[in-house]
Symmetry: C2
Subunit: 162 residues, 2 copies
DNA sequence: TCTCTTAGTTCTTATCACGAACTCAGACGA
DNA sequence: TCGTCTGAGTTCGTGATAAGAACTAAGAGA
């Protein structure tokens, strides 16, 4: 994979999409989260698996910790000193849908429908998919979606009334 | 926003998440798609709205077109020559869930629950959300999800049998 | 012919990723 | 006590690329 490139600060204004993208910083963050969700939680394991440079991995992990998406947890293997590994926080778990949508799109559009990562429910072991539904519960196809930005003034108003 | 940084090629192996992330290349691609879905489709409009440099925008658009995620459409305004604008293809529309998950996470975790972009169903105008469901239709909370990688050998086997 | 607009392209500079080597700290063996 | 091993980073030189400003292209209209 080609390394992510420098970005200049963008004004997120009031857009959560921009905010989220900016917070994550670059695609390595997403891939690091993938490792954590797959149960790969130690520095060297992540580094080897992704082939990311050590310095960049250290920086990304620090950023994710600072963001509150990842936390460090101490562990000690017998006959070894205390070390720590990385785990997603609740905020980090909130990013699982992102990985699932990437997987779904990749399986469908890049991998000809072949599944490469399995996402299942813990209890039943059933495969899990992402769906769109209206608040009233009706399922919606992607091409029926409309996106519109809410004006900054309106957003600011809502914020003030909190 | 700080500019995306160079990445070296990573072996996607058989992982669609890595494949998808690598295909998109960097976060600018996601933000460009955001513009297109919001109806901002012309070079100068996207450039001004995102504050992306012109050279990078041209490169990103070319990449998205090459990927088949975006296509150019000719248009002509009265008293003006023919120009073209950019629109998502079906493959591109398949990435809408990605934007919706980013928006949802950003609204919840970065923006204190304030909605900044509205995603609705075209017909009813109802707000749309992303949900996880098992294939049998049961709704699943993110913390009940388990991710596991499918071994490359298995994936290769499935591919051969197609 | 001159100017205006949109859509890029070119060029220079600054920044960041890469990758190899190095540091650090505790555990263990001799 | 000394040397070594291992995991987890940190440092540093080099090269690739984004930023940003300036320039080009090409048709429309005065």
């Amino acid at each position: 994979m080609v390394a992510p490139k420098p970005r200049t600060p963008i004004d997120a204004g009031n857009c959560s999409i921009i905010g989220a993208v900016d917070a994550l910083g670059d695609v390595w963050s997403i891939l690091v989260l993938r490792e954590l969700f797959l149960g790969i939680r130690r520095f060297n394991d992540i580094q080897g698996d992704l082939g990311i440079s050590r310095s960049v991995l250290a920086a990304r992990l620090a950023r994710l910790v600072e963001l509150g998406v990842v936390r460090t947890v101490a562990y000690q293997e017998p006959g070894d000193r205390v070390r720590h590994e990385y785990r997603p926080t609740r905020k980090g778990v909130g990013l699982l849908p992102l990985l699932v949508t990437l997987k779904t799109w990749g399986d469908e559009h890049l991998n000809l429908g072949v599944e490469t990562v399995r996402i299942t429910e813990r209890e039943s072991g059933e495969d899990v998919r992402v769906e769109f539904r209206t608040v009233s519960g009706k399922q919606v196809q992607p091409n029926q979606l409309v996106a519109q930005q809410i004006s900054p003034a309106v957003v600011a108003g809502v914020r003030r009334n909190r």
